[in-house]
Every structure is written in C-alpha cells, then in structure tokens.
C-alpha cells in the first residue's frame, strides 16, 4: 500500500499538492494586500490592483485546471473567515467571478500573458465583474435601482482601471520567473 516517493503517481500527487499550496500562498497574498489596502482613501476599486495580479499569476504559474478559481475560493474563504469586506458570505463572489473570467480567457488565449494589451483586456473584463457583485450586494441591501446602477458604475470603473494597471506587472513577472526557471 505504501507508495514509493519517486513513483510517477506519487510524484504527480506531490506536485499537485505543491501547486495547491502555491495557490494557497497566492490567496494569502491577495488577503494580505486586500487588508493593507483598506485605507479608506476614497478611491473605489483599488484592492483590484493586487487581486487581479495574483489571480493572473496563479493562472499562469500553475498548470492546474481552474487554478485562478481555486485561488479565489481560498482567498474568499480567508476573507469570510476573517470578516473582511462588505457582503458577508456573498464576498466569495467578488473573488470567484474575476477568477472565472481569467480562467476562461486562459483557454481562449493561452499566451495572453506575453503582451501587455491582452493582459489589460483580460484584466478589464475580469474587473468589470465588480459591477455584478456590487449590484447583488446593493440590491439585497434594498437600495434604489437607479442609485445602484450609478454606484456600481463608479465602483466598477475604478476596479477596471486598477485591475488593468495591476495586470501590467504580469508579463514582466512571468518573463522573469521563466528566466529563473521557476515556471
């Protein structure tokens, strides 16, 4: 019953665990940066900067299916456990929706991380999901419909800008990690 550590099956299990742990660390980085950026500087969406960066990094560094989504689930669980952000259990949606967009586009454009404009495009689309998550939260809070739209537009506008900026780091970091033979 005891598997040899060097057998291919055990190696793939170990490698899978290694990747999962790295996704966990990316989730921790998202969690820490989200906590650090709770500065109340009245700039909507600034937490999207590091969130998009680490989700894209998880997606590009880990060759597992739905790697960004797994990372988002872990960071969402951490955020719920530590009571961060508004929205309670719905908070996990704010993490999962951008990650699903990133995972989806990684199948459509497998080499999107090599160009700045494709990174910005994917990041902008992923960040725009902030509109949906904010809409759900505001709707459940019972806000006026027109106000919800204005509020969500402002929020998602900020999120798209910061998400796109965050994605600009991805090509540089990925090329450096490839140069160091890390990925």
């Amino acid at each position: 019953m005891v598997n040899n550590m060097n057998s291919p099956s055990s190696l793939s299990k170990r490698k899978k665990l290694e990747y999962l742990l790295f996704l966990g660390f990316c989730a921790v980085f998202i969690f820490i940066t989200k906590a650090l950026l709770r500065l109340h500087l009245n700039i909507p969406g600034h937490s999207m900067f590091f969130m998009i960066f680490f989700l894209m990094l998880a997606n590009r560094c880990v060759p597992l299916k739905y790697s960004a989504t797994i990372c988002a689930i872990l960071s969402g669980l951490l955020a719920i456990m530590f009571g961060m952000g508004k929205g309670g259990p719905l908070l996990i949606l704010k993490f999962i929706m951008p990650a699903m967009i990133i995972d989806f586009f990684s199948y459509l454009m497998p080499s999107y991380d090599q160009k700045y404009w494709t990174c910005m495009f994917v990041a902008a689309l992923a960040s725009s999901t902030k509109f949906i998550s904010s809409f759900i939260v505001d709707y459940l809070l019972g806000m006026d419909a027109q106000l919800i739209v204005y509020h969500c537009l402002i929020k998602s506008g900020g999120a798209i800008s910061f998400g796109a900026l965050g994605s600009l780091m991805v090509p540089m970091v990925i090329s450096r990690l490839k140069a160091y033979d890390i990925i």
Binding site: N3, K15, E18, L20, G24, F25, L36, F82, V173
Partner: protein, 205 residues
C-alpha cells in the same frame, strides 16, 4: 489551562478578535481590543517574545499608512486617522499570529475539515500558519533590498519611477520564496505519507 482550551475555540476567538478590529475606531475600544489580544496570548500560552519579534513588520506598515494619510489629508487631519488605521491593521493580523503560535497546523486542519474537503482544509490551515512566515520573509527581503540600494522606502515610493523596483526587488523574490516554501511543504507532507489513503488519517500528536 491552554491545553484545556479546544483548538476550535482558539480559532473562533482569534477570528472574532480579527473581525472586531474593523469595528473599533475609538481609542477606548482599541485599548480594550489590545487587552483582549494580550489576554488571548496569556490564555493560549503563546510565546510573547516571538509574537513581539514578528510585530516588527507592523512598524514599517504603520509608517507607510501614516505617510499616505498625511500626503492625502495633510498633517492635522491625516495623522490621527492614519495612526488609528495602522493600529487597526495590527489588531487585524495579530490574532492570526497568536493562532499560528498556539494551535498546530494539524489541529487547524482537523477543525477546518469539519466544513471543508480534507485537501482544502490542509492547504488553508498551512496557509494560515505560514502567513507570519511570509510576512517575516517579505520584511527581510524588503530590508535587504533597501540595504542594497533599492528605491523602495516609503518616501521613495512617492515617485512612480521607483515602483519598478518594488516588482523587481520585492514582489519577484517573494513569489520565488512562495514557490520554494510550497515545494518544501509538499515534500515534507509526502514524506509523512500524506494522501496515502482516500479516507483522511492523522497522527494525534
């Protein structure tokens, strides 16, 4: 006393203390929260000196937050809110450090596996326990890069030209460290026959 407190209760208390940090904004409530954290350290028998040593990271963060507030709102209306927020931030992360010193990763995984699949519970418990290691390592990398002349101090980061140094000098080494740590933990877990059976097993040590 500390052994009588269950790990689930310790996790619950630490998470609650961390959540309360967001609601505390007045000096009196912050002082009360400080006392609660000190009580938790004493009750859970966590090593006070190690926790104090790890809190060095918060000094750097506090300076950055206060400087940002002063730059945005000016000295008079920016200093006190910046200081309050940096103290809130300390109290937000401190329970996590207390938790990692008072509950073993196995106990955390066991408690989390009541609500999560075992593999995710293991990954999440490892991540919670290594938060302070990651922060400490980031802090060491930050200090080492400053000594090497990287322009990443709080004052120098006001200039956007220096932001590239943060990516090259801080973010990339931290990611590499994360990869290395993930590899080491996975090898250690494999050496302890992790994932050998479908049903979860554990050593009740």
């Amino acid at each position: 006393m500390a052994k009588k407190i269950s790990s689930g209760l310790k996790i619950g208390v630490c998470i609650s203390l961390s959540m309360i940090a967001f609601a505390t904004r007045t000096p009196i409530t912050l002082a009360a929260l400080f006392l609660c954290n000190v009580s938790a350290i004493m009750l859970f028998n966590a090593p006070f000196l190690s926790i104090l040593k790890e809190c060095r990271f918060f000094l750097v963060q506090s300076v950055i937050i206060i400087v940002l507030y002063i730059l945005k709102f000016g000295w008079h209306s920016g200093f006190i809110p910046g200081l309050t927020l940096s103290v809130q931030f300390v109290f937000f992360l401190l329970p996590g450090i207390i938790l990692s010193h008072s509950v073993s990763p196995a106990q955390t995984a066991r408690s989390l596996s009541l609500i999560l699949p075992h593999h995710l519970a293991f990954v999440l418990s490892v991540c919670i326990h290594f938060i302070h290691n990651l922060i400490e390592e980031m802090n060491e990398i930050y200090e080492a890069q400053i000594l090497r002349g990287a322009r990443i101090s709080a004052k120098e980061l006001c200039n956007p030209i220096n932001w590239k140094d943060v990516v090259n000098g801080l973010i990339i080494p931290t990611i590499i460290y994360g990869f290395m740590m993930a590899r080491q933990i996975s090898i250690a877990a494999k050496a302890r026959e992790f994932q050998i059976y479908q049903k979860r097993t554990f050593w009740n040590g």
